[in-house]
Chain length 263, copies 3
Amino acid sequence: MEKILWNHIQTVRTQSPLVHNITNFVVMNNTANALLAIGASPIMAHAHAEVQDMTGICQALVINIGTLDQYWVQSMLLAAQHTQKLNKPWILDPVGAGATPYRDSTLSELLSYKPTVIRGNASEILALARANTTPTKGVDSTAESNEAIEAAKQIAVEYGTLVCISGKTDIIVSQDKLIYLDNGHALMTRVTGLGCSATAVIGAFIAVIEDKTEALTAAMALFGICGELAAKKSKGPGTLQVLLLDKLHNITEKEFLQTIKLS
Amino acid sequence: MEKILWNHIQTVRTQSPLVHNITNFVVMNNTANALLAIGASPIMAHAHAEVQDMTGICQALVINIGTLDQYWVQSMLLAAQHTQKLNKPWILDPVGAGATPYRDSTLSELLSYKPTVIRGNASEILALARANTTPTKGVDSTAESNEAIEAAKQIAVEYGTLVCISGKTDIIVSQDKLIYLDNGHALMTRVTGLGCSATAVIGAFIAVIEDKTEALTAAMALFGICGELAAKKSKGPGTLQVLLLDKLHNITEKEFLQTIKLS
Amino acid sequence: MEKILWNHIQTVRTQSPLVHNITNFVVMNNTANALLAIGASPIMAHAHAEVQDMTGICQALVINIGTLDQYWVQSMLLAAQHTQKLNKPWILDPVGAGATPYRDSTLSELLSYKPTVIRGNASEILALARANTTPTKGVDSTAESNEAIEAAKQIAVEYGTLVCISGKTDIIVSQDKLIYLDNGHALMTRVTGLGCSATAVIGAFIAVIEDKTEALTAAMALFGICGELAAKKSKGPGTLQVLLLDKLHNITEKEFLQTIKLS
C-alpha cells in the first residue's frame, strides 16, 4: 500500500493537475505554494463572472470557508454546483464550523453539492455532524481526532463523501473503513493554514487519482511526513513553513517509505 | 519591571487567548503566524453576518485599516461597537492615517468606540491628532517617534486610550507617563507588515493581562527584542521574517532580560 | 549598458519611490516585500473612495488582475484612468489572460488607458494579442517566450507600450527593438507570484528612471539575477522565496555584473 501511495505522488507530479481554489485570504499564498511544490498548478479565482469558467478548465475544486463573506459564499456555491454538474471531484474545508450560525448555514448549502472529500479538525467534523459536544474554539480544535469518528461516519453516509479528521492522528473515514496516519509534528499547529494547505494538496490528488480513498491517503501521508521531516530540522514555526515547502518539492521515495506510519 | 513583563509573556503562552483580527490583505498571514508563535490563537473573520458573533467568542479585537474598503469598514465598525458594548479590549492600527480623507474619516468613526490601545508610526499618530505637520508618505513614517509625543498625549486624553508610537524608539504614552523601548533593528523596516504584526501581538496581551500599560509594554518589548535578535542573524529581509517567527516562539527568559532596553 | 542598469538599481534604492499596487490576494505580501527589499515603498489600496487619491501621491501604479472581481476591476479602472490623466507611468500584469472571457474583456478596458509596460508570460501575451494558438493553461504558460514575439510587437505598436515576455528567456519588446535576458532558474516556476513580484519591481523602476526601456531591463535583470543566485543556494521553493528577498536587498555590483546575461 505504501508503495502505491508513493506512485500516486509521482502521478500528481507528472500530470500536474490544474486545481481551482476558492479559499481564504490568510492562506492563499501558502496553499498556492504547496500546490506548486508538489508539482500541481493552482488557480485562484472567485469572480461570479468567471468562477464557472475556471471550474470548467480545472480538474478539481478546493473550497475553504475560512474568511467567507456574502460575495465569496456565492462564488463557492456557483463553483460547487458547476463542479457537481461536470462530475469533477471537489474538497470542502469547513474552517471554523460550529463557531457561528453563519458558518453552519453556509456549510449546509455547500454540502448539498456533495463534496468528494471533507477535511477538518475534530471540532469542525463534530460541528458538521451537529454532534458537537464541546464548542469549537475558533479555528483550532478542542477535541481529539478519535472523538469525531462517529460524526465522520455519519457525514460519510449522509453525503456519500470521504472524511478526513486531521489532528495528532489523521483518520480517514469512508462508509466502510478507517485508515490511521500517525505522521506530523506538534510544531505544525503553530503555523497558520497548514490544514488549509493539506486540503489544497488533497485537491491535487483527487484531481488525477481514480481511487479517491487512496488519493486522500496519499495526500495526507505526503503532507504529514513532509511536515514531520521539516519540523525536525526547524527551530520554530518560521523555519518550519519554509522547510515544509522545500520538502514537499524534494522528498525522496526512501524518506517517504521510511517515515510513513499507516494503519 | 522587566521580570514582570517576562511573566506576562508566559501568561499569554499559557492562556492562549483567542484574538479576533479584522486586518489587511497584505499581512493576514504574518499576523496570524505571529499570534500562533507567541502561543495565542488567531481568528480572521469579517462577514457582517458573523463579525459580532466572532467578537463575542474572542477575548480581544484587532482592527487594522491597511486595505480598507466600504464592506470592511462596516465590518470594523460592527466589531468595534460590539466590543465596546461587551467591555472587551481592542486595539486600532491606523495604517496610512493622513494619506487620504477616506482613511481619516474612517478613523474618526472607529475612534468613537474608544480603543484600548492605538499603535502607529509617528506620521500616523500625528495625522490622527490632526497635528501632522509633515505629510504621511504612504504607510511608512517620515517623522521620528519623539515628534509625535504631544499628539499621542492629546489622543490619550481625548479618547482615554493608550498610544504606542513605534519607530526606531518605541514610546508608550498614557495620560500620565511615558515608557521608552529601544529594541528593534533597522532591517525590520524592510519587511512588510511588522508593525501590523506588533499590533496583533499587543491584541493577545491586552486580552489576558489586566494592567493594559504593562500588557502593551510587554508586547512591544517582546516584538522588538525578537526582531533585533532575528535581524542580527539575518542576511536580508527574507530571512528576518522567518527567524522573527522562530524567535517569537523560542525566546528564553535569559535572552529577553539581557536584550531589553527599557526606560 | 550593464553598468547603466546597475546605476538604475542604485537610483531606485536612493529615491525610494512610492508605488501604488492594485494586485491579487495571493501575492500581496510577496510583492510588498519585493518592493521593500529593493528600497522602494509599497502602498496597497483599492477602495473606490481613495484609489485616485493614492494614485495621486504615488510615482507609479501596478495593476495585476490575478484575483479580479467586479469591485476590484472598478478600482483598477479608476486608478488607471487617473494615472493616465496625471501622465504617470503604470504597468499591467495580465494574469491568466485568455483563460476566461471575463479576463479578456477586463484587459480590453484596462488597455485603453495605455500602460507604460505590460509584463506577462508567453501564453498571456499571445492571448492579449488575440493571437493565442495554444490555450492558456490557467496562470502558467504553455508557450515559449519567442513564440510570443510577434504578438508582443503588435501590442507594442497598437498601444504604444513596452512589452516584457517573461519565461526561461525574458524578452523585452519595444516598437523598434528586442532585448534578451537569460537569467533566472527553473525552480522559480515552483514559487507562486514571482512573475507578479517582477511586475511590482518594474513598477518601482519606471517610477524613477526616465528611459523606460532601460528601467524595464534593469528591473527584469535584477529580478532574474537575484532569483538565479537564490535558487543556486536553495533546496526547494520555500528557501528560494526567502533567499530571493534577501538577495534583492543585498546584491552587490560585482554579483550583478558577473551574472547578467544580456543580449
